[in-house]
Assembly symmetry: C2
Homo-oligomer: 273 residues x 2
DNA sequence: CGGGACGCTTCCACCAACCAGAAGGGCGGC
DNA sequence: GCCGCCCTTCTGGTTGGTGGAAGCGTCCCG
């Protein structure tokens, strides 16, 4: 059990972008939400792959369906890749389980409800229900954000492996507002508090008008697999009223996922291990 | 303009699974909704790639984040791939535009509302709102289905390129119920009718109790990019009442996408070309 | 308690698949 | 009409890829 992660011992790929696979993946890596459609030359330049090599590899990716080409010749992410991505246990399947309960929480509050997971040292938003009249948020489904600022991020970081925490604490903490935590010692205190209380509060740390309550969601192995957060306007925010709501919904989702801390762990096939 | 598709001329990859890229993609291809988590040996066998080669390539994919490993060593689709897939213009971005209008349609009917696109000769479901009391459907977001049976499939096939239509007509048409179209000539007539009327009806062709109304959604270049469908119980289904509803919603979505047939094509950045 | 089967990981020498420079052609902009 | 940008194709040298085999650890079953 606990197979050591393969090719840590300086195999090919460690020394830069030398292997075919790394080039292939580098080509895919240049697509972003801001630039979802790119020409061959752009991809070649951005990925640092010679033009003719990029041309050949992109041709193979397109033939398979990972990429598509528009009538103008530009490449974009193909539907096949979307289908494949929809199989990621921490993506769509997690969303499917959590969404009904998130909707209940939305009906009770009519505020923004967000579901996020941790990927390395970043937060990734898996689902989002944004109320029409609710405070606007900067997040996007499938998008990333700095982990030290958002409410969900604080929850996920507080329960992340030590090496991830040390990594975040050792890097510069980007400031979004004057309330954003930017000192490692402060962050360390906040994380301890999050672990102690079982939820996180983020008061105007991302935008000047948002107040977030976030709670951890547990999986089969009793580890934190996701975070549920509720984003309201910081004026008139009532933590005493919001915290139990978020905690309760997060617990319900954990139970559906089969978390050991909850009884009746029926039919939990998601996020095994 | 209209760059010819690359490497049609018998480049590497035509002769089988010989290139590194094709092997890499073959490894990804073995993941399905039914088998979202696989061991190294399983992947190696299913993909037809030697064990040690698979091991090395899977290691690279995991290092990049395309795959993840559970504590038991099994591989699964990673969040990075989900993030990348969420950039597919025909996936999440299309969903984002269509969802509000789909919800309006759901509120008006409380029936199943589905959004699908064509990938080759198959239908892929991009979004789905299933009413609690509505008739159950076999579809899954991110899942495929036979194009000749579903309502959305008939719409998409009716407006597909001739070679796709011929391909479907020449293959065996799988039967799901006794009402499923299984004769090429019948299908040909139905497709002509769908083009003429501008919508498709599917009466118990997938399940014994479902009746579907589907309408095309047009994109920037005035081609059909998706299909909107409403699935109701076949008993008491009122096409005269349902068809205008679906057509109207589909037209609204087309307008948001910037279809030329509709005025006020404001801010249409999706599905360009 | 011991044997065997299975699965993961690592190693290495051969070799062919890949790389990248250069040339060719089409389109649009100045 | 000229120039520049971008895409596409071709080719020989060489570097990264291949996969058989061996080494282990684990689990199952006798």
């Amino acid at each position: 059990m606990a197979y050591p992660s393969p090719s840590r011992s300086g195999g090919p790929g460690t020394d830069g972008s030398r292997t075919v696979s790394s080039r292939l993946l580098a080509l895919l890596d240049v697509f972003t939400a801001a630039q979802p459609q790119l020409t061959l030359s752009e991809i070649s330049r951005l990925a640092g792959v010679p033009l003719s090599t990029a041309h050949r590899l992109l041709g193979e990716l397109s033939a398979w369906g990972a990429l598509e080409r528009g009538a103008d010749g530009r490449y974009r992410i193909g539907l096949k890749l979307w289908e494949l991505g929809s199989l990621a246990p921490r993506g769509l399947p997690l969303r499917e389980v959590a969404l009904p309960l998130m909707e209940d929480l939305y009906e009770a509050t009519h505020e923004n409800v967000q579901l996020s997971v941790r990927e390395g040292a970043a937060v990734v938003f898996v689902e989002r229900i944004c109320g029409r009249g609710a405070v606007p948020t900067l997040t996007r489904v499938g998008g990333r954000f700095a982990i030290h600022a958002t409410g969900g991020g604080l929850v996920l970081l507080a329960h992340a492996p030590p090496e991830i925490q040390e990594q975040v604490l050792s890097e510069t903490l980007q400031k979004f507002t004057r309330y954003t935590i930017d000192s490692p010692s402060k962050l360390r205190r906040v994380l301890a508090e999050v672990r102690l209380r079982g939820y996180a509060l983020s008061d105007r740390q991302v935008t000047e008008d948002a107040f977030t309550v976030a709670a951890p969601i547990y999986g089969l192995s009793d580890e934190v697999v996701a975070a549920l957060s509720l984003v309201v306007n910081h004026q008139g925010a009532e933590p005493a009223y919001l915290v139990p709501l978020v905690l309760s919904t997060a617990r319900s989702i954990s139970r559906l996922l089969g978390a050991p801390g909850s009884q009746h762990s029926e039919d939990a096939r998601y996020l095994r291990n």
